[in-house]
């Protein structure tokens, strides 16, 4: 038996819709096998992982809190990936945004006015754009591989954060813990309801709607897709590859920065050595699972947020390591990529030596 691909005459719309569903199903099946291998009842474990977190109002709020950065970063990355620009350093841009935005409440704790929050958010966006702008600039100016530079900047931003919270930005009244001072009320994103949910969720919704319009209804969206899928055609149309690289990096960096400052100001309320459970990397999965479509990303953002919550829940109730979350997320991306083959190709199993149309 040999596996062969046969090109479809055109993209299969059905498969484009079905492939994420197949991928999720395959992930769940693999998860069941994994849990069984760990000596758990697969049904109970999967219930704890993916259903139980949806049954309480506090955990639904937590779901929104975790989905917020994933969606904000994911829609930005979609613009990058659609234009064939590989920003994989969103985690660094998230951190840079959090750092830039936190400058205000940490260095000027006395500055409490109605301007504090808007300024923080703007600085957060600027910080993310700056961090995302570096690989874009290097790519455009010197032709440097943006995948490697954007990733290296993740490590650099995390070390910068680590140094700041252990050194110059450490809370003077914090008993030497590596933490910044706690943000004042004026520097805290207001809660949406009586709980953990904060205004950041609204930013995510706005970003999804705005990018849906930009990608589907504007010339810019067309430009992004043409340069991604047919760079030569794009050049003849007069679109600039370099401009789109800079645009994609600044946009996704800015959104990641906004996600960073929103998370710190709305959820953590201070800087600590670790401020993200890998949102910037998980958002890559969110973007692909959502088919690089803002609405799809909105949905997949919630699914991956659920995997974080499920991991925590399964650890508490069943004693399963919360590391399984990362395994699930990795598997999911694998399956998504594998299933995407079905959109362009039909898969056939041929006997060795015998080919349909001859070798």
């Amino acid at each position: 038996m040999r596996l062969e691909l046969e090109k479809r005459p055109e993209r299969s719309t059905l498969m484009a819709l079905l492939s994420p569903v197949i991928a999720i199903t395959l992930t769940l099946v693999t998860g069941a096998v994994l849990f069984a291998a760990l000596g758990q009842n697969p049904a109970v474990a999967l219930y704890m992982f993916f259903i139980d977190p949806l049954t309480a109002s506090w955990s639904l709020q937590e779901l929104v809190v975790k989905a917020t950065p994933l969606i904000l970063i994911g829609v930005g990355l979609a613009v990058c990936f659609l234009s064939n620009t590989w920003n994989i350093g969103a985690e660094g841009q998230f951190t840079a945004g959090a750092l830039a935005g936190s400058m205000l409440p940490i260095l000027l704790p006395g500055f409490e006015s109605f301007l504090t929050l808007p300024l923080m958010l703007l600085m957060g966006i600027a910080g993310g754009m700056l961090w995302g702008g570096i690989p874009a600039f290097l790519k455009v100016r010197f032709g440097t591989n943006e995948i490697l530079t954007s990733l290296m900047l993740v490590y650099i931003s995390q070390l910068l954060l680590d140094w700041l919270v252990r050194g110059p930005w450490r809370d003077p009244e914090g008993f030497n813990f590596p933490e910044s001072r706690v943000f004042s009320d004026a520097a805290t994103l207001p809660a949406l309801a009586d709980g953990r949910m904060h205004v950041g969720a609204i930013f995510a919704v706005i970003a999804v709607l705005a990018l849906s319009v930009v990608l589907l209804k504007t010339l810019k969206g067309f430009e992004i897709r043409v340069l991604g899928q047919a760079p030569r055609a794009g050049r003849f149309a007069g679109f600039s590859r370099n401009k789109i690289i800079v645009f994609a990096f600044l946009l996704s960096g800015g959104l990641a920065g906004l996600a960073g400052i929103s998370e710190v100001s709305g959820s953590v309320n201070q800087l600590t050595p670790v401020i993200s459970p890998g949102y910037g990397f998980t958002a890559i999965i969110v973007a692909f699972l959502g088919r690089l479509n803002p609405i799809g990303i909105f949905l997949s953002g919630f699914l991956l947020a659920l995997s974080y919550l499920g991991g925590e829940a399964a650890q508490v109730t069943l004693g399963i390591s919360d590391k399984t979350t990362r395994v699930f997320q990795g598997l999911l991306l694998f399956y998504v990529l594998a299933c995407d083959t079905l959109i362009l190709y039909r898969i056939r199993f041929a006997r060795p030596g015998v080919s349909a149309k001859g070798a």
Binding site: L5, N145, S321, T324, G330, T341, Y345, A356
Partner: protein
């Protein structure tokens, strides 16, 4: 042992994992495949190498475990990108994410456990020579293997028919296919070789560099290895030079601290990453150099038409 000698010894241990991973990836990229999952294969190699050494009591069998697990990860990558023509960049990222997750799960039981060190060889007389004895004749086998691999890859790629085929597949897969070369087979073998090297590189970290398991202990070395291949413009001997250069940068922080240099440790830790960006910029500025050596089909999928 003099200070200079001890610095050289640490440079060698820091450079070897980079060299192993980079020389493997070089072959993969020469065959036209871009596997960005080096970090993932490496970290799985690290945890499996540790686990293998614990289970069997032998660090050498641990290294074999590391090698095989790296190949297993590479096989997964190969199936997706070669058989299912999935996007290579995205699949490589998926491999890294999966590897980081898997290794964290497998390694949870090993956190804080003392490891088994793969020690250097002892050659009577030679290893005891003054100055050069430990340096030249007292390393562990993987150091010698890494150097042999550089020589071997260099020879095979540029002096043998097999190497010609690998480079042909990487530079023009359609022509290679038309000449009757099985493009997928060559690429599979290259990807598996890369996986074996990356797995071994990870095993080196958990068996020699710091004989223990720490989550995320590869700390971006897989990515630095990828950058080294670009830095070396796909040339084995330049990979050797680059790996030792980065090994030296990587251990700078320990020696700076030992000599009481008052720079925050985080700045020193960031040095390899900053250096990576710097050398990438320097090498990319020379567009001709890069263009001449880059495999022309790098990252482009191949679907045989029948």
């Amino acid at each position: 042992m003099g200070a200079f000698e001890s610095i050289l010894l640490t440079v060698i241990t820091a450079a070897t994992p980079l060299l192993l991973a980079a020389i493997g990836e070089l072959v993969v990229e020469r065959s036209g495949v871009l596997n960005l999952g080096v970090e993932g294969m490496m970290i799985v190699g690290a945890v499996m190498g540790f686990a293998g050494a614990q289970a069997t009591g032998s660090p050498y069998l641990g290294a074999v475990f590391a090698l095989v697990s790296g190949m297993g990860m590479a096989l997964l990558f190969g199936f997706l990108t070669l058989h299912l023509v999935a996007n290579q960049v995205a699949t490589g990222l998926a491999l890294t994410l999966l590897g980081l997750g898997l290794s964290g799960m497998i390694g949870e039981a090993f956190v804080g456990q003392p490891g088994i060190r793969l020690t250097g060889i002892e050659i009577p007389v030679l290893s005891d020579l003054p100055l050069v004895g430990r340096l030249l004749f007292g390393q562990d086998v993987l150091v010698y293997l890494s150097l042999a691999l550089v020589a071997g890859v260099s020879y095979v790629l540029f002096r043998t028919r097999a190497g010609l085929i690998i480079r042909a597949v990487g530079d023009n897969h359609s022509s290679a296919h038309a000449l009757g070369v099985s493009v997928l087979k060559v690429r599979y073998l290259a990807v598996l070789f890369g996986g074996a090297c990356a797995g071994l590189a990870g095993g080196y970290l958990s068996l020699v560099y710091t004989p223990q398991w720490v989550e995320g202990m590869t700390a971006g070395r897989g990515w630095i290895a990828l950058a080294l291949v670009v830095f070396a413009t796909w040339r084995p001997l330049r990979v050797l030079a680059g790996a030792y250069l980065f090994g030296a940068v990587g251990i700078l922080q320990f020696h700076a601290q030992a000599h009481g240099v008052a720079i925050p440790s985080q700045f020193m830790s960031a040095l390899p990453y900053v250096a990576t960006i710097a050398v990438l910029v320097i090498i990319s500025r020379n567009r001709i150099l890069t263009r001449v050596n880059t495999p022309a089909c790098l990252g482009r999928p191949f679907v045989p038409d029948r």
